[in-house]
Symmetry: C2
Subunit: 373 residues, 2 copies
């Protein structure tokens, strides 16, 4: 793949992603100041993931907030494909979803797409996936969602309600449409071809469960957007509102280029990594620094390509002034990579320690969250 | 469509069907005397649908009987797509299935493909289909299956178990395979593309429910055969036996040519027709008779194209000698169409009266038969 080229589909993110180009390609809108102001007003503060534009694009977020203002059930929907252990990249939409749940007091529908992961991974069995599901559930619950307002469900378990909706969706989606949105070919299996209907189903689940109007907002990474494009086309045919969406960038892996990926374990901070192991990965990460301290002092570093800086900026350093200073100091050669690495490593240690404590507490709460089939 | 041309797929049967050609086209085997003898020995008699070759072809029926002989759970599986009221044509595989259940003491898995009918009928809603399901169930139960050994289930209700198996099947079926077997196109919806996996699932349901080996035999009309071809390819990949099949011809409609079809109500004997209405349809049926009594006496009729004779032969006149005499008398002009019509009309009256009595009794038995999701 040439420099600057990229592939972004629900099953593959490759290359250097140009997010401005994706906005055009996917036909979504950038998050503007008016929307940020509305979110800030409702939440009482602007989340770091918004301030630093990790969440950067949306579809009809404003309409969703207006639905909330009018008293419509403004619910949230996000999900997880349990094909391995959870890493920091997976957590970003969930952290943001919790922010929205806290701000709007929203119901949250959380789908575990165990079927999808079975369809797309030739070597994964349903039994292995069930093991990952059990594990991943703890990470999800550890994020701190409101157990009274959060319904988590697995496709292979909560099947009846989901298939009941998915059948209605599927009737309106031709192979031609699915092919265009997801790149299916003659070699795609008929499970993954049907799956977009299963992933669409939760957009209409609150309506089905309550018989009342609802407006769904989906916080997720931008690679999931093709699902909602297809779902939005079908929604009015079923008499439902189109789901709104708010989309994040990918957090980079700790190596040079590419999103954080479970398939490159040394470049991903797994939520199950020991705090020490997590810190060590940070210390081995790719930076924008010069080969020697001398050169760094003379020429300065490049925070724009530095993974360490990107983590501080996107998620860990809440202090706007501090993060700007770090940027400028790096550029001017006034700060060495070791300093930033040590700072982030400490933050990662604290983050993992706290997450793993909440994860341990989550074990007793699983049943409280689950929708049973 | 030219004379002699025909189309036979699970959703369309058109033209004059050449059953010998279908045997070759579908790669199935004709039912031979050795198999008939084995069935006769087990059942104590040879069913009229076998004697008159309404059931005419099979796949590995002999292996299935051998499995029974070896003590393997030799179970039956058939089904119904609830897109309208049940007619006589639908009943034929069920009557034969009851014969097999009685003979082998087999478990019967009976699938109601409410999802399929939703996917393929643009104008049918799930609510309308649920109405037909409720109605059709009574006709199924009226056939007299053993309630202790018969499990009826609807795809939209008994979804969890079925989807759990269907996902395993679907992973091994590419769009290319499904396209070749079922004639799917880019315009096919993603629901019907996935559906073959749902229809395959009951072939592996007893194994899933009991954890033990089972061998499934599917009695059905020959148009369903593409499903089992695909299922048989997948079975060994899942560690299961390939399902066997035994296939019937179509009973003709009361008009000139074509199978009995609910879309031509005047040419179909619905099980809900009053006995008088049924008798009247018989009296209006297409025969092989001459335009006048005089000509009939002089030239004789043509029982080979006569719908009335075909009903007597295939299903209603158990007496081999009698049916042969009718054939010869017709040919020689010694019998008029009115005589045959009256005889069949009386038989239809009795049949409908008895069926409708059993149908009324069935209302109290539905719960006993249903697998609940």
């Amino acid at each position: 793949m040439e420099k600057g080229e990229s592939t972004v589909t629900p099953w593959e993110v490759k290359g250097e992603v140009d997010y401005d180009a994706l906005i055009k390609q996917f036909g979504v809108e950038p998050l503007d100041d008016v929307l940020l102001e509305r979110l800030k007003k409702q939440a009482g503060f602007l989340h770091i993931l918004l301030r630093r534009r990790m969440f950067f694009a949306h579809r009809e977020l404003g309409d969703w907030i207006s639905s909330y203002d009018k008293g419509v059930n403004a619910a949230l929907y996000t999900g997880r494909g349990p094909s391995g252990n959870t890493h920091l990249g997976h957590l970003i939409p969930w952290i943001f979803t919790k922010y929205l749940q806290d701000a709007f007091g929203s119901e949250l529908y959380f789908q575990i797409t165990d079927d999808e992961k079975f369809y797309v991974n030739p070597d994964l069995t349903l039994e292995e996936i069930a093991g990952y599901t059990k594990d991943n559930l703890l990470d999800i619950i550890a994020v701190g969602f409101d157990p009274k307002k959060t319904k988590i469900f697995c496709d292979m378990e909560y099947t009846k309600e989901l298939y009941g909706i998915a059948a209605r969706v599927a009737k309106h989606v031709t192979f031609s449409t699915a092919k265009a949105a997801f790149g299916f070919t003659d070699s795609s299996n008929i499970g993954i071809i049907f799956f977009p209907a299963i992933q669409a189903a939760p957009c209409f689940l609150p309506q089905r469960l309550t018989g009342k109007d609802a407006h769904i907002l989906i916080p997720c990474a931008i690679d999931q957007e093709p699902y909602w494009r297809v779902t939005r086309d079908v929604a009015p045919k079923l008499g439902f509102r189109k789901p709104a969406g708010v989309y994040s960038k990918f957090i980079p892996g700790l190596g040079s280029g590419g999103k954080m990926s479970a398939s490159l374990p040394e470049t991903a901070i797994f939520l199950s990594d020991s705090p020490e192991a997590g810190a060590k990965k940070i210390k081995n990460a790719f930076t924008g620094g010069q080969p020697t301290i001398k050169e760094q002092k003379e020429k300065g570093g490049n925070p724009d390509v530095c993974v360490i800086y990107s983590y501080l900026y996107s998620l860990f350093d809440e202090d706007d002034k501090n993060v700007m200073e770090t940027y400028n100091q790096c550029k001017s050669g006034g700060i060495m990579c070791g300093t930033c690495k040590n700072r982030l490593a400490e933050m990662i240690k604290i983050f993992l320690t706290e997450h793993q404590k909440k994860r341990a507490d989550a074990k007793a709460m699983v049943n409280e969250f689950m929708l049973k089939g």
